[in-house]
Point group: C2
Chain length 639, copies 2
Amino acid sequence: MIPLSTKRHSLAHIMAQAVKQNFPDAKIATGPDTEDGFYYDFDFWDTEFSDKDLKIIEKTMKKIISQNQDFKTFEVNFDEARDILAQMDEEFKCELVDKIESGDMKNTLPPTPLLTKEGEMSGANGGGPISFYFNVAKGKSNNEDVQNFLAQKSFETFEELDGDQVKTLKFIDMCTGPHVENTRELDANSFKLARVAGAYWLGDADNKQLTRIYAYAFHNKEELDAHLKMLEEAKKRDHRVLGKKLDLFCFSDYVWPGLPLFTPAGVVIRDELQNHIEGVCRKYGFEKVCTPHLSKIDLFKCSGHAYKFSDELFHVGSGHGHEFVLKPVQCPHHTQIYASNPRSYRDLPFRYMESEKQYRAEQSGEVGGLSRVYAITVEDGHVFCRVDQIKDEIINLIHIIREFYTALGMWDKVWVSLSVRDYSNLDNYIGEESDWNVAENMLAEISDELWLDAKRCEWEAALYGPKLDFMFKDATGREIQIPTVQLDFATPQRFELSYKDSNGEDVTPVMIHRAILGSYERFMMLLIEHFAGTFPLWLAPRQVRVIPVAEKFDDYAKKVEQELKAEGFRVAGDYSNDGLNKKVRNAEKMHVNYILVVGEEEQNTSTVSVRDYKTKEQTSENLQDFKQRILEEYREKRL
Amino acid sequence: MIPLSTKRHSLAHIMAQAVKQNFPDAKIATGPDTEDGFYYDFDFWDTEFSDKDLKIIEKTMKKIISQNQDFKTFEVNFDEARDILAQMDEEFKCELVDKIESGDMKNTLPPTPLLTKEGEMSGANGGGPISFYFNVAKGKSNNEDVQNFLAQKSFETFEELDGDQVKTLKFIDMCTGPHVENTRELDANSFKLARVAGAYWLGDADNKQLTRIYAYAFHNKEELDAHLKMLEEAKKRDHRVLGKKLDLFCFSDYVWPGLPLFTPAGVVIRDELQNHIEGVCRKYGFEKVCTPHLSKIDLFKCSGHAYKFSDELFHVGSGHGHEFVLKPVQCPHHTQIYASNPRSYRDLPFRYMESEKQYRAEQSGEVGGLSRVYAITVEDGHVFCRVDQIKDEIINLIHIIREFYTALGMWDKVWVSLSVRDYSNLDNYIGEESDWNVAENMLAEISDELWLDAKRCEWEAALYGPKLDFMFKDATGREIQIPTVQLDFATPQRFELSYKDSNGEDVTPVMIHRAILGSYERFMMLLIEHFAGTFPLWLAPRQVRVIPVAEKFDDYAKKVEQELKAEGFRVAGDYSNDGLNKKVRNAEKMHVNYILVVGEEEQNTSTVSVRDYKTKEQTSENLQDFKQRILEEYREKRL
């Protein structure tokens, strides 16, 4: 079976050919395959190209596929490549050849087929070779003929080739391939052009802005349709849409578009998450600390973050001559709490946790959402322990991760990466090799003991130690990589942390970094989309709405409301003049978990008529039974 | 009875006289009475004066008192005053006359007897009069004689006066008085010189630094001793000392001396306070919101805080060209949550609360404490309501204040200020006069209805509305002014907030600012000192310590520990090799509320031997009974 990536990239060439047919002046840049299709970047000069032009391109593509064009390839050296591209007047491709030759591609180019899977430039050794792929119509071409042709002719018009079996050169592109052999191997109904977006040449905002055409592509129409349906579903789950609809957070131009303000309903979710994670962590010996957002830069110079995050640091000054930075991470602050008292081997381990905002001056991302914001509230934690305690501590942390994600119904879809060094470059890592060997073996042992079946991933270790990374899938099938347990031999040394061992000698402790839910902002985004805004009762900001069918049942409704409120439920009554149907619709609009309608019968029998928003089931229940039932649902954090 | 302030200020003159006798070159500046005594500022030039010189001054003062000197007074005009002071070579006093004449005293001078109670300069009308007080030995002086003498003689040597009953001019000072008539009215054992400190002339850091001598003074020795004992007690309660000893917070030079880091024990107190206040407020309809620390300055320009706090604003920038400030208050952020959705009269009131850090670049204060820090975590709250809801909302807020302070045992010592306008300057206030009248009357009505007996304090209103301020006394007798309820007609207008009334018209809501515990940092400081580090069980970071009398009872001790932990108690076991007495001492050092000692008998009878740290009582109790008892103590927040 032909790999999907090959089909996708072949379709990208076909799209470029279709664009060239309809817009002969358009210049091509790069066009790789993506996770769910492909894109190609074009320079349309002064010609306007928008979503409405996608239909015609799509139609042309289908026609090209039906022409049974061959994909053929040849190789040339750098100078020959430049000659060919210059003749074709493809300035972006020419620049690429220069970059490939000078070897500075890896850092400037977004992933394209020109890069092999290992991130190496194909044909970038010495003088080439550089490969080209081209399409020819009807039958097979003779490579030699084509190359002769390429050496002699102008490419502006894509004229006919000489040679018996070669009729027309339809499209040519510098590219490492691979491609299908003939367009008949592609399903004309397996792709769909998605949208047009702006994209800077080589991803650099200082370069020209090009037009990127995105497309979805799969093996066949069924797979494509399934994907489009999934996207439709994801759109309904979009946290920006649901965040606004359910009034979970908002933005103000007075404040800044990248700084969300959490409304009461949003804070309920945040607080429940925080109480839950802190409760779990406390059970496993974590203690909460609280540190300021400001610090002298010295703290982050010592930890190294001042250099790692130099571009993202917010600098703070005042009229009184203060010079501070906002913390981009909180590990260094926690070292200072450890350092605030002399420590003995008998006191270790110390397990600190903190949920505080960190600030990073990142480039602005999407507006109106939580995925890229300047203020991220990180649920952070660090263990300071002796080397002989590492194993127990890591097992302890894995228990926390398991308990937390089990409660969210995600643990059964986990896979674990044991992220170790690049063994061909051991000098790149901080710390003693013997410590590293012990630590890596220990993590492997733990994986075996706890049946984690961790996949050993080389290159993935942190600079300062190996780690275990946990990967989950959310309801839309998207992979979530948040929890991590990282060994760190370096930071305690940098801050000269120590404890007295049983002989009274000073020893440096080990630091273990751990993330469970990561940042509340990102986690809330994931939860909103995972649950499509219909939260389990324990997380739901609006748990119960009581609706009297007429004003004369307001008293009974209020009694019901009060009784549930007394148990701590987030309940509201709707005593407006709206009709019953409108009241129910209003409650449903806000995804209220339980809508209780009460009238004469309910009042006389001390019952409530329950509408379950999630299951859409309607039942009549004794008020006390209902209360007891949802109390259990809440306390057990049922999904 | 002679007022204490008169005695204190008379003692200040006597101290100045004693200093002059011992240090003839010393120049006098100002010397007012204080809350618990008096001080006087001197310029000793090159002579060193330190705490060890206080004894000799005190001795000389007692001698002066025993001489039965008369205090006499006369008045002169500005020029005459300058003449006299120039002859005496008292440069600071000369400068004072200039300042009094030019009328710029009120803003530059610290409170001194030269200012009357009303803050007006005495004798500052036109050309005087300026009053002088002087001391003469043995018998009464003839004022006329003295004035003649003053007009003729040099004051450098304080030579003998002419006249029958006047023997010696001992000391003379420009001063508004009043003073005692004769030093025999003062008790030589009623005062004590306290300490020497630096103080800038006129309180301005650009001026010369003078030497300030502080003293305590009361009517008699008994009162003085009681005060000294109270100070001794306060020293033991000092939150800086207890904060270090009980490991509640710490500081790091890497971070900044004015930015406390809260350790696990400190966070327990903070979190319990936060849970308590949020629980109370939630009961009265408050909802929690969460806003970032960063904002464009535009937010605070609109609110006016950018101007009010211009010196204290922290400015934030990044390499990406961002320009933000750190929020010095959070009211403006809350207006933006209100503004994030269209509001109807039926939705009001909105009650938002938030406990977040605010940052103000204040001048550095004491180091190692919580009283003046850059980061203050304010428990802030705002109500947005209709005018017809103000009264109910304010009553609601007073219920919150009452409930919160009752739980801390402070409500019975409350007094309330109804802070209204300065009626002679009504133009100084923002908003409609009719609104103000309604609001002030409403607050008075509420005070009557709730039996608050509020004291009407003119001048004390905020710029934007009248307020109720609540004053408490802590265990050391110190007055605490934290809770406040402030009406604000202006801010909602500045941000153009609105709601639709029943006719569909846009109406501006009223904003009510409320503080209950103020900032956690300051409140923790107060609580640490109020409880002298021995917290009620619900606030205590270390509630129970279990101590086995020997290793073979470790298992039973761990069972006790686990059983209490399961109920959520903050309990630890001491399984070290230390002896029993040392273990108990260690627990007492950390003010652990209950120390449970367990051995053979306890194990056999499922009991615990309980030492109550606060009462020092020792009892033997069934473990279940003990658990039940302290569960109740915890849940009821007993003091």
